[in-house]
Symmetry: C2
Subunit: 315 residues, 2 copies
Amino acid sequence: MSGEPYPARVFIQEVVTRDGLQIEPRFVPTADKIALIDALSDTGVAKIEVTSFVSPKAVPNLADAAEVARAIRRRPGVTYVALVPNLRGAEAALAADLDELNLVMSVSATHNLANMRLTPDQSLEGFRAIVAAARGTRARLNGSIATAFGCPFEGAQPAEKVLGLAAAYLDADLDSITLADTTGMANPRQVADLVAAFRARFGAVPLTLHFHNTRGMGLANVLAALGQGADRFDASLGGLGGCPFAPGATGNISTEDLVHMLEEMGVATGVDLGRLLELARGLPDLLGHDIPGQVAKAGRSGDLHPAPASLRAAS
Amino acid sequence: MSGEPYPARVFIQEVVTRDGLQIEPRFVPTADKIALIDALSDTGVAKIEVTSFVSPKAVPNLADAAEVARAIRRRPGVTYVALVPNLRGAEAALAADLDELNLVMSVSATHNLANMRLTPDQSLEGFRAIVAAARGTRARLNGSIATAFGCPFEGAQPAEKVLGLAAAYLDADLDSITLADTTGMANPRQVADLVAAFRARFGAVPLTLHFHNTRGMGLANVLAALGQGADRFDASLGGLGGCPFAPGATGNISTEDLVHMLEEMGVATGVDLGRLLELARGLPDLLGHDIPGQVAKAGRSGDLHPAPASLRAAS
């Protein structure tokens, strides 16, 4: 009736054991990570970003990247990904036979320097070295553009700059692109405009949207992207993740809240929401704190309650 | 670029001292309520639902309705509203010279019985008595349709039933309609469809959308309604409010998060977000607990941070 052209099917890409766990105050035991990933493999998600092959000094929580990648069960149909910050990480990810490597740099030079200690040119040079290393392997390469919707240091990033970087990624032979709202600054109009501009310029190049819910706009941004035909979304079980600049603020969009919204809208995800909710409800025990995800607390819209006893007695 | 026809201007209707405070565990002193309403009057919101003239036994937190309505400063241009559950409440609200009375019933008969202890016919009969009592006064009458997007006992409510009730409200001479997602069950596709159907049937009858963020979809639902031209939204400072069926779940959409999203999108609200954020940040002291609103914690998207000292030293 509203005429909104939502996609019929959306692909859910789980990032909790990478983006979620990397900033947790305590180390989640390797066996628990493996068990969580194996359980996520059976929920119907399309892709799991398992870990990041990053320096254990930089991210102690993911020091077990190689062990996790080796030990998880690979379910056919699920794509297993690792984030790789540099050639050394890429080599480790290739040695672990992951399906996909996720390369990342920030479109904001200031953020890239702060986060990766690299200039944009140095990052792109690193990408080309990774592409060369992956040649002849079966690994696909995704390129993430961090701070695509704004940088906490520089502010808004012009769409032309973001699209120009995407073009550089594709020139470097990456297979697909993620536009990442690293610190939750995107708004729905900006999302609709940037997704439309991406589609106009790059046609069918696979595009993922990676949103954070830092300012409450996460699912609204999903809706805006859906309205422009986007059909791949990163999300984090329980809404784990977060931003060092916003203490107390929430993190990535919650996988279970995302799947719940899409399924309520009649958009298929292929995900078993019941299983996902069970896993989300187990996170507080694993982590020792509450989670931002809301459907795990409130239940699904369709979970009905008995009418008050007084009414039932009267009827 | 996305071609989404968002309204250029949206009206923000604050409900925190009614919908927010009514279920708080502790009574907020009358003087604090008055001070909060007076401060909200200076933020630029279009309307404030000040209180509810309800039985103090049913809602002890609002037992001071008459005193609050009498003592607040009436700022020209702001519409001051009270919720009225029945003729006695309406008479009290009229005696307090409020600008608008908000009449409410649930489209779900089960919810109406549970919440108001009235059948739908009894509720409509009550509405007609209130219309008669208000005749000749300057008070406008708004009719709220609770559980318009779903009932926690009955589940989904057919759009035809909701629109039929809106028609009955207008036949009874109410001036405007609110579609209320009382327990946060609405999804964006449903919202877009129902708003479009309302517009098709009732043309320019003033329509308010009242959303809760119980399952994280609050601002996505706003976006869906905006896309169909809706331009009046209820919201609660700090995201206060809630649902007795979802312990730990969040309440109404947060006024400051709503205003932040709209202003970031370039949709004018007339609201001073800085003042609103100051008031939201004062709520934890007033109430003794944290608030669900996220921009009060994370800051606005445009609040930039200094680059790390190491970079500044190097540059």
